[in-house]
């Protein structure tokens, strides 16, 4: 069953991505990095070549991008810079030609509510809230994209239904990671940033999560940027980059 349902979806997606790519160019909905280099890594990347740091890169709308890099090369720094969690870099990050440094307060909140979703490497759940409450919070932060029944559905897919009413502080890392994934998928987005999203999951769970993520991205015509240490075949990436 799984194999059958998986196959057409990939065909589907590539056909889609073609259309999306052209529309992305048309509407210019993209992320542009210009000579971006984090201050702490500056010296390192003046000598070493990277396909992201200290060069010009454009991520077009709907692209599924994998960034593979060893530890300490700035995966998390990149994700945080794209999400405007840190600004200690040189160069610029722009969304649709607008420098993210100019996006502030309520506008930044709107960007995070409507356009960008994120799965943090360190998960960042509220330990005192239950799994369901953590997910629900991101659902109702903006006009809900999904009915709350969707929480059960996704939890079921990722096999975390039994911990929905448990405080996340008491959950294992694997469970917390799946909660963080469901939380990220509860909101509307054009881009999904994932920082080692399967680091605490076994193969089976990773597969299930990847399938859910792919399905949700397709539904929204959304692109993603995923960072990881190793090669993987979870998604059919449109681009593979290294830091």
């Amino acid at each position: 069953m799984r194999g059958i349902s998986k196959q057409p979806s990939i065909i589907d997606r590539s056909a889609f991505s073609h259309i999306l790519l052209s529309s992305a160019i048309l509407f210019n909905k993209m992320i542009q990095l210009k000579n971006l280099v984090p201050v702490p890594l500056k010296e390192k990347f003046q000598v070493r070549k990277s396909s992201i740091w200290n060069t010009e890169v454009t991520f077009n709308k709907g692209e599924w991008i994998k960034i593979k890099a060893p530890s300490g090369t700035g995966k998390t720094t990149l994700i945080h810079s794209l999400y405007k969690l840190r600004t200690d870099y040189e160069g610029s990050v722009s969304y649709n030609d607008k420098n993210i440094l100019e996006v502030q307060d309520d506008a930044l909140a709107s960007l995070r509510q409507q356009n960008i979703s994120i799965i943090f490497q360190d998960l960042r759940l509220f330990a005192n809230l239950t799994a369901r409450e953590n997910i629900e919070l991101n659902r109702v932060l903006q006009a809900p994209y999904y009915e709350s029944a969707m929480i059960e559905q996704m939890a079921d897919t990722l096999q975390i239904t039994h911990i929905l009413n448990q405080r996340t502080g008491l959950c294992s890392y694997g469970e917390q990671q799946r909660i963080a994934i469901v939380r990220a998928l509860m909101q509307p987005f054009e881009w999904l940033f994932m920082d080692e999203p399967f680091s605490h999951l076994d193969m089976d769970n990773s597969e299930r999560a990847a399938r859910l993520i792919a399905q949700e991205c397709r539904k929204r015509n959304a692109g993603f940027i995923l960072t990881d240490l190793d090669e993987d075949t979870h998604f059919s990436y449109t681009r593979n980059l290294t830091l």
């Binding site: 960007l111 005192n128 919070l137």
Partner: protein
Amino acid sequence: MNLSLLLKKLIKTSAGRSRFILAILGLSVALFLILAAVQIQANYDDLLHNKTNQDSIANFLVINKVITSETIGQTALTENQISDVKKQPFVQALGVLTSSRFKVSAQGASNQLPFYTDLFFESVPDDFLDVNNKDWAWNDQSTFIPLIIPNSFLDMYNFGFASSQGLPKLSQDLVRNIPLQINIQSANGPVKYYAKVVGFSDRIASILVPQSFMDWANSKFGTEPPASPSRIVIRTKDPGNPELLNYLKEHGLTTDADKTRFSKYRQIVNIVVNISWITGAVMLLFALLIFTLFIQLTIASCKDEIALLITLGAAPKQLKTFLIKQFFPPNIIIVFVTLAIIALLQFWVKHWLSGEHIYVSGFISITTIISAALIMLVLWIVNFVTIKKYINKH
């Protein structure tokens, strides 16, 4: 589950519960003192200007020099003195009492009412009279001279003189119908006129004739040169004004003490009102300070949660709205409860005072309500500014 319920779980306002209760209590007392001060002032103003309470004497004062053994024979007011009185801020209008400069007597015009008395006349401009009467006019064609006598005069007769002498009591109507004969001494002997009482005054304790008659008679029969007036009448907004009293005292002037009886009350009211609102204002200030600290403490104790909420995409605006909803409603409740208590007290005061024949409104004044609204606005601004300041820090 809605957002504010989730936020409530994250941003606990229980961190400084005891401080919060303290602030609430302080604020309640402060509000009570301030609003009570406003209400007392409103009641007092009401008493001064309300029609039911304002008898006709209240706003008109007849002023003359204090008569002591030193001032006998020097009771005339100079022009300077009069113009100085006129300049005072509490004097709205000033009229001079003109006295007759001829000898005059009155007697019953018929034999049914035999009496005789020596008399004097005075006059004031009509604006200062509390008698509105079509008969109150005189020209040289008039068949009688209209007179206004003090109400107290009739009271004195009815309740003092008539009772002790076994004479009949006279009503105002009856007195109006008694024909009087007036004899004015002239160089060629007495001249007879007829006179009628046309009104009774509470305001000026004198026997009044129209100014036109006085001017005419003084020029015709006057035996003495025109003298400076010794009495003046002023119209004032507030006869209880302590400034007025001080002025009179300083210049050796006096007036009917009864008319200025409000002055003492007023001083007491002023002291009570001032103490009340100053104490209230100081307490309000401290209560606001505690509130501010409480908000600051709450936000500081949840700074990790707030930071993560912002990271996840919560808008500062959403958080501010949530926090205002957490902190502000108690303020609204306090304001309304305080207003309700004052309204109850006012109702009780009305009943208590009406027993003393003092009539105040049974409802709180609009000024009190406006003050409450203003304080609420101040509370909102303080809440909002504090929340904004500390949310923007994160």
